[in-house]
Subunit: 335 residues, 2 copies
């Protein structure tokens, strides 16, 4: 092949908020395939909050990216060569090949994307990892029951916007916390949330939340953490469940934040809190995909994609997403 | 009856650590019984950490004690009069009659104590509320599996000392955090804990804990909260469970403490944390009593009672217990 691979590598580790200098665009030859591998030409790549953790040295639940290595992440694109029996040239595949124009994946680690289910970009959004995260994190971890109030932070993001809608599909009242008036407008007027507030302009989170949750809060789906969670906790009902999906307010801190100790509430309110990774539910992805695709087709679940053009703009797209400049799923269109 | 009732009432609300001035000993006539009630002459009364919360105004999970009202709490004593068909004069009963020499309880709210199971004082300890708390809080909330490491804070107290032993009965390794070298000696050398440390002299809780938990921590039974919990959390294994029973380090604070935000760990380690009240398990008390009494009789579960004589000394016994001057169950012998 005469094409070259363009890729973005981790040039240096961020101190606090990442900057463009932490990334470097470079070219490299397209690798030859080994038996069992496929070559994907990227059409969309995903930028997600968890990637901030991978930029640090050392492992959290997964190893960090090494310096000068390609940034990690999911992508969807065309299979341009295959040495795996399940994939043929012309297939569309989703795999964790990172921020590059061409990536090699082992066939077992790639998923064939069915273009009939929706635009292929949805394999990185509503029908992909964010969709699975919302589905299992709300339904399995949060255990919502019809009539309950579900509060979600990061409510206009890729996961949060789905959580609120799935809550409503299950008969719950959804309330969202988001970072702009436009996002609050989006979740309330386009997605049907019962209410929401803009935490960037609210003087007091508790006072903003209370009138939106007159019957208290039964499920808190937490993407954000920090002082938004402090306020939500104080309004949790007896027996409430907290599903911990992300803590984006903490990812760019240079040193760990201190906050209110609220463990006493766990006793008085019999709270339960559980953290999860979507991979914990890998055996049930087919179930989630069926449900999510069905709801999309029935018009019950809508999604928005926030697409940035050009691999070279992936760092800025990622940095902006960490600061909340996206509504819905932030994607980078590569080809 | 010519006897008078001696009782201790809440004279004022504490600011921070309670003092003797917050209590007042007074006498009052012994009330007449209504139909369905029994009169108990107290032999032992219980002082427990939860009572600190009841001294505040306003309700937490239960209403606070009103000023000039009798301090709440469980007691065991002789039934000296009965207008309830299930109780006769001469029975021994346990009921929440508070800090007084004579108390009236409705029969349905009292439990007959079987003296063949052990000294009647155990109805306030290993065979009473602390025993039930340890049993359900460890086994149902903590879900320990054989071979796992269970860490308990407040390990030499009424509940903690039982938690570690029940963990061992279930094939776990018990490690305790306690507040004196004598307590650490007690849990390790008399109760068989695999290890323990004195948090009052340890320079670094994490460094004290690590060699005691070489395989990490699978269950944390938390009676204490605060910075002991901070250290334990950092050594929890993937899938660990936190059973929140008490937060005694926080009860006397004049303003809420701030601490490390560790919610991120819930995601990376898939932690789950649940708070409970023993009353949540009221329907299964008989099961717990059978198990606990059986283990005591088989010599698998030992307990220590730390008895202070005289109703007038109940305030000092309580205040001292909050500061950890007891080993095992702190009781007040009234008659």
């Amino acid at each position: 092949m005469s094409e070259e691979n363009r890729r973005i590598v981790l040039a240096s580790r961020p101190q606090g908020v990442p900057t463009g200098d932490n990334f470097r665009l470079e070219t490299a030859p397209i690798p030859d395939l080994q038996e069992g591998e496929i070559l994907i030409r990227t059409r969309f790549l995903s930028v997600d909050p968890y990637m901030r953790g991978r930029m640090n040295s050392g492992a959290s639940y997964a190893p960090g990216v090494e310096l000068d290595e390609v940034m990690v992440g999911g992508a969807v694109g065309d299979v341009v060569a295959s040495r795996h029996p399940d994939f043929s040239e012309g297939d569309v595949a989703q795999a964790s090949i990172g921020w590059q124009s061409h990536g090699v994946a082992r066939g077992e680690e790639a998923h064939k994307v069915d273009p009939r289910l929706g635009p292929i970009s949805t394999a990185l959004g509503v029908l992909g990892m964010p969709g699975m995260t919302a589905y299992f994190g709300l339904l399995d971890v949060g255990q919502p029951r019809a009539g309950e109030t579900v509060v979600v932070s990061g409510a206009a993001g890729a996961v949060g916007s789905l959580v609120g809608q799935i809550a409503q599909i299950k008969g719950c009242r959804a309330v969202g916390v988001a970072g702009s008036d436009a996002k609050v407008d989006y979740i309330c007027n386009e997605l049907g949330f019962a209410g929401g507030f803009n935490y960037k302009t609210a003087a007091d989170y508790g006072e903003a939340l209370a009138p939106l949750c007159p019957d208290g809060i039964d499920v808190y789906f937490d993407n954000v953490g920090g002082s938004i969670s402090d306020a939500v906790f104080l309004q949790l009902n007896t027996g409430a469940r907290i599903s911990v999906c992300g803590q984006i307010s903490q990812y760019n801190l240079k040193r760990p934040e201190r906050g209110l100790r609220q463990t006493w509430l766990f006793i008085t309110k019999r709270l339960s809190m559980r953290g999860f990774l979507v991979f914990d539910f890998a055996e049930r992805y087919a179930e989630a995909l069926r449900a999510l695709a069905g709801w999309v087709q029935e018009g019950k679940l809508s999604y928005r994609e926030d697409v940035v053009d050009g691999l070279e703009n992936a760092p800025a797209a990622f940095i902006g997403m960490l600061q909340g400049d996206n509504t819905g799923k932030r994607l980078v269109r590569v080809a």
